[in-house]
């Protein structure tokens, strides 16, 4: 029995040893795995643990602010709230999201959505970021302060919900200096790709247009960050440290906010007035005021403006669409001070300068004007009688300049236009500036050649088509087909010969050019700068907007001083004669702007311009400098489709100069009212849109999207239009900058030739989107 027991126990002993072996093996497995996790892979898991509980929260740097020359803040910053949500890792998630959704109902970015729909939207956003556990997902942007306080109240029931504050642009004076300021928006994917090495990340904002874009590198600042320890609910448990953001540098402009306000208001009033007088198409315009002694831009206005807060406010999709429709209709993102207009008679000083300098005429040279030059008729029936150069400027005598222009030919005129900076970019610190266009034989050929090619191509196509059909046709059909082909070719052939005629520079082109019509296109800024050079005795300054870049601590980062582009190669004697002529313009009895400046306390020199636009009212232009004896400012005013230069644009110029001289004595904020609504609504009643005829069909007008405003915006749909047979109905002829800028090696979309064959003996009719002023020059 005993032995038996011992044997049994020995057997059991062995089995227990096997069990012990198993246990040791199992433990060895645990040990090895533990060592692998905690010794070999420890670093990897340490990083993951940190990612779990340490959150680096970026702090957006406040963007630099923008001040006028007197220190008035034109653009500031204001806080905006964003709601984000971090995944909880607990069953609560759904409940919290449901609660959050209920709070967010009625929030503008979720307008019209029920709590359930918002809930689903949040869930979707969470799913998209599934793998980055605990990283907060932005749920709602620009939420109202009421919503923020409701979330704050329910903080405890809303674990994982985070409120972020970031600064956005604030405009104390409404639309002041819009659109020159530009605007700030979130970078799109492409912009981000291109600027990755500059430290931008997804969701960053940057300047998309205007000064905001040009001075982005100064304005943006450097973002900071806060390191926070959070729990699994994403609630911050403690702050681990803050790296303060560095605010962007501030800009100090050359612009005087008071004058800018006065200019914008004057322009708006002027346009409203012109409309009332029956020029229903007058809706837009531009005005530039320069300091002739430095090239500083004192005011730069483009009308209509837009409400800059639409890019910063919390808009419902519907409100946004409305605002956007309005911007697209007005094309108010377009800075018209940098857009192209035919100069009309304001160009005559160039011709005068060329003629005097080339020795073609002297100041004593005169003609007797009977009211016509060859086949061209002066704007004044019966003519002006005997005119010399000064009087020719005073009464804007077309006959005189036709005579002189014919003596000169296109090349000298173009040379002096270039001398005054026309047809060249001024180099102002704004994106989307156009060079403009000086006409000439080569330029004319380039304009018409593609059109000719197009007609040729159409004819070839028709021929080819019938060739095929003829090959397969029987004897009987052949004659009929040939007739059909010829019938279709006939109008094209007619077009072809007309265009072919237009390829060559003709005398009437020189005549048109001499009075600022034809293919002259310049920006209001160029015009103002050209007048400034005349006024200051021949120094062409580079116009500039930013005087100084100042760091937030007050230190100057960069200072911009006047820069001379060139000394204009025109003798001071010639300039003196021109100035006298311009002075005469503002003097009675028959100066074309005498009425405008009646009673002015200062002496003005000016020139009116009325640029004829085919199928539309004329553009009204006005350039001036003052005081005559010791010039301080030069200005250029354009009212699109404004009728007559003196009445429409001249009265605006008068108001501007009145404001300039009275403000010289006023305090730096005179006339400025804070929180002004968008000027388009306040300063001028929004113009009634004319009935569905021409005005509606501004097909060639640039439709600038906020993602790609101005700059290359000019393409519109013109390039997509099949040139030739039908020109875009209604045509936006004469609209500034409507066509692609013609100078940069680009081919201008050709004028339509199908229904509107160019009138022989005249200039090409305007159509399509190539801005063309009719050659029937009219100046006053």
């Amino acid at each position: 029995m005993a032995t038996d027991g011992i044997i049994t126990s020995r057997k059991v002993e062995k089995k227990l040893q096997v069990l012990l072996g198993l246990v040791i093996a199992a433990f060895a497995l645990l040990f090895i795995r533990l060592a692998y996790l905690q010794l070999v892979e420890a670093d990897k898991y340490k990083v993951m643990a940190q990612q779990n509980h340490l959150r680096l929260i970026p702090i957006a740097a406040p963007r630099g602010e923008i001040f006028d020359r007197n220190g008035v803040r034109i653009v500031g910053n204001q806080p905006v709230y964003t709601i984000s949500f971090a995944y909880l890792g607990v069953e609560d998630t759904d409940r919290v999201i449901a609660r959050l959704a209920r709070i967010l109902v009625g929030e503008k970015s979720f307008q019209g959505k029920t709590a359930e729909e918002i809930e689903q939207e949040i869930h979707k956003k969470l799913q998209e970021q599934k793998l980055r556990l605990y990283e907060p997902v932005p749920v709602a942007d620009k939420v109202s302060s009421e919503t923020v306080s409701r979330i704050e109240e329910q903080r405890l029931e809303l674990p994982g919900v985070l409120i972020d504050v970031r600064p956005v642009r604030h405009y104390p004076y409404g639309d002041l200096l819009v659109p020159t300021l530009g605007y700030v928006g979130i970078m799109d994917q492409k912009e981000l790709e291109e600027n990755k090495d500059k430290g931008y990340t997804l969701g960053d904002s940057w300047g998309k247009d205007g000064l905001e874009k040009s001075f982005e590198s100064y304005l943006r600042g450097r973002r900071g960050a806060r390191q926070v320890e959070v729990d699994a609910q994403g609630q911050p448990v403690r702050d681990l440290g803050v790296k303060e953001p560095v605010p962007g540098d501030n800009l100090v402009l050359t612009v005087d906010a008071r004058l800018q306000r006065a200019v914008q208001d004057a322009l708006a009033r002027g346009i409203a007035r012109v409309q009332k007088e029956g020029y229903s198409q007058a809706r837009a315009g531009a005005a530039v005021v320069l300091d002739v002694r430095t090239g500083e831009i004192l005011a730069l206005a483009s009308h209509p403006t837009y409400d800059p807060t639409i890019f910063t406010r919390d808009l419902s999709p519907q409100e946004w669409n409305e605002a956007w429709a309005k911007i697209s209709r007005d094309q108010s993102l377009l800075n018209r001070a940098l857009a192209l207009y035919p100069p009309g008679s304001t160009f005559k000083m160039v011709v005068a300068a060329a003629a005097l300098e080339m020795g073609k005429i002297t100041s004593r040279f005169s003609i007797y004007d009977t009211g016509r030059y060859k086949y061209k008729m002066d704007w004044k029936p019966g003519g002006h009688g005997r005119v010399d150069v000064v009087r020719a400027l005073k009464v804007s005598c077309d006959t005189f300049f036709w005579t002189v222009g014919a003596m000169l030919g296109p090349e000298p005129i173009a040379r002096y236009a270039r001398e005054f900076g026309l047809g060249q970019k001024t180099g102002v610190e704004l994106p989307g500036e156009h060079a403009g266009r000086i006409p000439g034989p080569e330029q004319k050929y380039k304009l018409w050649k593609p059109l000719l090619d197009n007609v040729q191509r159409q004819m070839d196509e028709i021929r080819k088509e019938y060739e095929k059909r003829l090959a397969g046709a029987g004897e009987g059909e052949r004659a009929a087909l040939e007739r059909e082909m010829n019938r279709r070719l006939a109008p094209l052939q007619e077009q072809y010969s007309k265009i072919e005629w237009e390829l060559t520079w003709r005398e009437y082109d020189t005549l048109d050019m001499s009075i600022g019509q034809g293919n002259n296109y310049y920006t209001p800024l160029q015009l103002a700068n050209y007048i400034a050079a005349i006024a200051n005795g021949g120094t062409l300054y580079k116009p500039y907007l930013v005087k100084e870049v100042v760091a937030p601590d007050g230190q100057t980062v960069a200072r911009f001083s006047p820069r001379v582009i060139r000394r204009v190669d025109v003798s001071s004697k010639t300039l003196e004669i021109i100035r006298r002529g311009m002075r005469e313009v503002a003097l009675p009895p028959d100066g074309t702007a005498a009425g405008v400046f009646a009673g002015a306390e200062y002496s003005v020199a000016a020139k009116t311009g009325t640029a004829e636009v085919h199928g539309h009212d004329n553009h009204a232009l006005f350039v001036a400098f003052a005081p005559y004896e010791k010039p301080e400012v030069a200005l250029a005013v354009v009212v699109e489709y404004g009728g007559h230069g003196s009445s429409a644009a001249g009265s605006v110029a008068r108001e501007i100069l009145d404001a300039y001289f009275s403000l010289k004595k006023a305090p730096p904020t005179a006339g400025l009212s804070k929180e002004k609504a968008a000027g388009t609504q306040q300063a001028a009643p929004a113009p009634e849109r004319p009935a569905a005829s021409s005005g509606n069909n501004r097909s060639g007008r640039p439709v600038a999207a906020p993602q790609a405003p101005s700059g290359g915006a000019g393409r519109g749909n013109s390039s997509g239009q099949p040139a030739g047979v039908t020109p875009p109905a209604g045509s936006g002829g004469g609209t500034p900058a409507a066509g692609p800028p013609p100078n940069e090696g680009e081919t201008v979309a050709p004028p339509g030739t199908g229904n509107q064959p160019p009138a022989t003996g005249g200039s090409p009719s305007p159509s399509g989107s190539a801005p063309e002023a009719s050659g029937e020059g009219e100046g006053q």
Binding site: K11, L30, F31, L34, Q38, K44, E229, D231, A232, R238
Partner: protein, 445 residues
């Protein structure tokens, strides 16, 4: 009569076993106190730099105190079990077996539901988990059952009654459903059969075929699941195509194809459904397999394992120190004081602490096996062996789960996890071990 703490009694105990158990319990109390402390504001971060002993004062004692009460209750039960010679306990095996069944049936009908399973029964203010006690009762009853069949366990046919004997309570637990605990039953049964003299090859063959069956089951499920999901996707795609179809002819063809795929889908889906009806539910399947790739579902089934891995791994060699665990105190780690308590140890005490814990368990189990070998009869050996098997299985599966080599089954860490029923049962089991030890075979030379 009450053996107050007499010298003789103290000397008759297995000191190594008791000391390792005591050390484990102390370790567990500190860990529970730390695990249940949640950091909610900045003040907590200062605790990290305190002296260790001072830190102990800052633990969360709510759960610790409750656990101490359970330990006291457990010690009482342990003393009771030690007092009655194990042969006498085994005499009531039949009654215990019946009591066990009644308890488990009661759970099915009266049980309180929590976390998707019925495991608790309330008596007055107390709730307890019968399946915990079922384990111990099963060990006792099976020991008596097997010792009566000593030497008659060679053939497969002989094992069938044993399977039936264990099978009934196991099935009842499986119905709760509590897969983990039923696995404990199976593991313990095989261990005890082996000790009782069943042919090792036969047992191995059974375990092997069981494993193969399981793997086959999972493979089959994966196959069915994938086919089901694939067909469903195809159906959706076809439906889309049908909507945008241009010509009548295309639509007709698509419709035909759709009908066919739908027929296949219905068939496959039906099979998939019926598979789940007779075996495990979809979510159980996912839970059991997700440990192989926790990253596949970080926000769902894989979340626990992933956070536990991060906790253990980030502990490194020395650990983050008591109250220094970010995974624990910032509540990333779920059910920290019960099933995943080992992750807290791993995070705060590092490889050193976790290794020490494993060593303590190894000593404990080694002593347990020693007791089994010193038992004066087979019944004693079976009792001690069964208890050791149970402990070993628990430890391996629980720790394996926290470090990602075992599926998540909800088995607590013995003598360590917070939980009343479990602690009381563990101490009772310890009492059973000591019972066998005190009445061991005296070696006379």
């Amino acid at each position: 009569m009450i053996f107050l703490v007499s010298k003789r009694f103290v000397r008759s105990l297995d000191h190594t076993l008791l000391l390792s158990a005591a050390a484990l319990i102390c370790f567990s109390l500190i860990t529970i106190g730390s695990a249940t402390l949640e950091f909610t504001d900045e003040s907590f971060s200062r605790l990290k730099d305190l002296f260790f002993m001072v830190k102990l004062l800052h633990l969360d004692y709510t759960y610790v105190i409750r656990q101490v009460i359970w330990i006291l209750a457990g010690l009482l039960l342990m003393a009771l079990i030690m007092y009655i010679p194990y042969e006498d306990i085994c005499k009531h095996a039949r009654a215990l077996y019946v009591f066990n069944l009644i308890m488990l049936v009661a759970v099915v009908f009266l049980g309180r539901e929590a976390l998707g399973a019925q495991r608790w029964i309330s008596i007055g203010p107390f709730t307890f988990q019968p399946s915990e006690f079922a384990k111990l009762i099963m060990i006792i009853t099976l020991a008596s059952f097997l010792s009566a069949r000593e030497g008659r366990l060679d053939r497969f046919r002989d094992l069938l009654p044993c399977f039936a004997y264990v099978g009934v309570p196991t099935l009842l637990i499986l119905m709760q459903p509590d897969l983990g605990t039923s696995m404990v039953f199976v593991a313990v049964m095989f261990g005890m059969l082996y000790l009782a003299g069943a042919r090792p090859r036969l047992l191995l063959a059974l375990i092997g075929s069981g494993l193969i069956l399981m793997i086959g089951l999972f493979a089959l499920h994966t196959y069915l699941h994938k086919a089901d999901v694939n067909l469903e996707k195809q159906l959706l795609a076809l439906e889309q195509q049908k909507k945008v179809a241009v010509s009548e002819k295309d639509r007709g063809e698509l419709e035909k194809k759709y009908q066919q795929v739908e027929k296949d889908y219905r068939e496959v889906h039906r099979r998939h459904e019926s598979f789940h009806r007779y075996t495990l539910k979809e979510y159980q399947m996912t839970r059991l397999t997700v440990f192989l790739d926790p990253q596949s579902d970080l926000l769902g089934a894989g979340y626990h394992i992933w956070q536990s891995l991060i906790a253990v791994g980030s502990g490194g060699f020395l650990g983050k120190g008591l109250l220094g665990g970010t995974q624990s105190h910032l509540t990333f780690l779920p059910i920290r004081h019960t099933d995943f308590i080992f992750s807290v140890v791993g995070e705060e005490f590092g490889f050193l602490g976790a290794g020490a814990l494993l060593a303590l368990y190894l000593v404990f189990l080694y002593r347990g096996l020693k007791i089994a070998s010193q038992a004066r009869d087979l019944q004693g050996t079976l009792l001690a062996g069964g208890v050791v098997c149970m402990f070993a299985f628990h430890i391996f599966v629980n720790i394996g789960m926290t470090i990602g080599i075992m599926p998540v089954t909800g088995i607590p860490l013995p003598l360590f996890s917070y939980g009343g029923s479990n602690m009381v049962m563990n101490l009772a089991a310890l009492g059973l071990l000591l019972n066998v030890y005190m009445r061991r075979r005296k070696i006379l030379f």
